[in-house]
Symmetry: C2
Subunit: 285 residues, 2 copies
């Protein structure tokens, strides 16, 4: 695996592959790679000839007061993880390489209406525009035929899929299953910012989702009842504060009144230095 830090180096490294018709896969990340990221890189390796993993903590998707500064970084460890998972190229640009002149010099933004205003977008109104803008830029830099994203950020995946469709990016967006710790906690770079006691409490997100899915399996169709069941689960611990639970249509991301196995369940919980999210197919189990 080769690590490059400039757009020019990366394009030069890819030119030969592109000329040979190699399939280029992209795994965009914010670094601090864990087994979830590794699974995306492995999947990309199974489906493509060249795998580009990118590491860039994108300031455009953090609002003032969010955890841009405390977002964990570990480039040395990331290079080892990406290489072990089979990445061909690791692209780790500086802020100045991506946004010469800084984040405020970026006048262009890409936004997806409707899908971006609910759930995470309600809590973080400028977040998804920042995500779409950097993902569009990475698509333009790398020119992948496939791009791999985790289901943990289900809303992000839905929004990027819509952006690709609306703007006809020649990219196939591939959603990949959530990788979990043995106690059910979804892998997340932010997990390292949990205290020991918070880490012990954090599987409550997955327990809440499973309780919701169990209720659906048992025949409960009232989305409000399922929201209440999930909220009660989160309330069984005191370290994390519930941000939201929801039962939504997986295509529109709008709340449903009548839940069923095709619904998707979501939860977000705020701990002291980490806000965690998780989601589950209501028909899971």
């Amino acid at each position: 695996m080769k690590t490059v830090t400039t757009i020019t180096e990366l394009r030069d490294a890819l030119d030969g592959h592109r000329a040979r018709g190699d399939r280029i896969g992209l795994v965009p990340t914010m670094g601090c790679l864990h087994a979830g990221h590794a699974s995306l890189i492995e999947r990309a390796g199974a489906e493509c000839d060249v795998v580009v993993a990118t590491i860039f903590v994108n300031p455009l998707q953090f609002a003032a007061g969010e955890d841009l500064v405390s977002y964990p970084r570990d480039l040395h460890g990331d290079a080892q993880t990406a290489a072990a998972a089979g990445a061909t190229l690791l692209f780790a640009p500086s802020l100045d390489e991506m946004y010469p002149g800084g984040r405020d010099s970026v006048l262009t933004s890409v936004a997806v209406a409707e899908l971006s205003s609910v759930m995470e977008g309600a809590s973080r109104p400028t977040h998804f525009s920042g995500v779409c803008t950097v993902v569009a830029k990475l698509f333009n830099i790398v020119g992948p035929c496939r791009a791999f994203f985790g289901d943990k950020d289900f809303q992000q995946l839905a929004i990027i899929t819509r952006m690709v469709s609306d703007l006809s990016f020649p990219v196939q967006v591939v959603g990949c299953e959530i990788v979990r710790e043995s106690d059910g906690l979804a892998m997340s770079s932010r997990n390292v910012n949990l205290s020991d006691s918070e880490r012990a409490a954090a599987p409550v997100l997955h327990r809440a989702l499973r309780a919701g899915a169990a209720a659906v399996r048992a025949g409960e169709t009232s989305a409000d009842s399922i929201r209440r069941i999930m909220g009660e689960q989160v309330a069984t611990q005191q370290l994390g504060t519930l941000d939201y639970v929801d039962v939504v249509d997986p295509d529109t991301l709008r709340p449903v009144e009548v839940a069923g196995p095709a619904s998707r369940l979501f939860v977000a919980v705020e701990f002291e230095r980490a806000r965690l999210i998780d989601n589950l197919d209501a028909g899971a189990g």
Copy 2:
């Protein structure tokens, strides 16, 4: 020249060229092609191996009450003009091919802040976001290495150049000189919507710009004086109503106080069924 109407046909037609490393040039238009468009296609032909001209009257860049319905259309004539100018492929998609589900189904938008809120953007606040969205989509469909735009839409050219830079599109944006009728009227598809008497009055836009440039050459540095001189020229006829005249910095598009040969002069005049714009380098002549 081959005319295609679907994205799939176009991509299929381009795949072989791309595999051979041919340089692909893009000339995006709204059709009703005139000698100005022909000059863009000819320039593209001189610099590229394959020239894709596109014809799509993009509803996203028209607000309610603007001239979407009356915008002139002439696909048969366009095919002749494009072929004569040397286009390799003419892409003329339907509304449904570009935006399945109609314009309201497009949730994604691309916008360039600051540059889009002045001049044309002040008169047409959603216009440039519509332009950027369709141009980004055409870039993704065609995958050109160069794209050719006329200087007549100078603000559009500046905005697209900025979008390409901010989002790292692998495209070189080429601005091309305005082509004028013998009486100075800038070529525009909208000119066909002028009445005979309006057509006779319309060269006033170019006269106003030349009067402004002459003042700069004569040593006038007060931008307000130059605006007044240009406005007075437009007022020498009664058929068209002045929308704005301005003297701006060509990079920021912001009004200047002190004019010089590096400034850019702009004028917009509203006729009954056509709103015309024009611009000139203040150092011209």
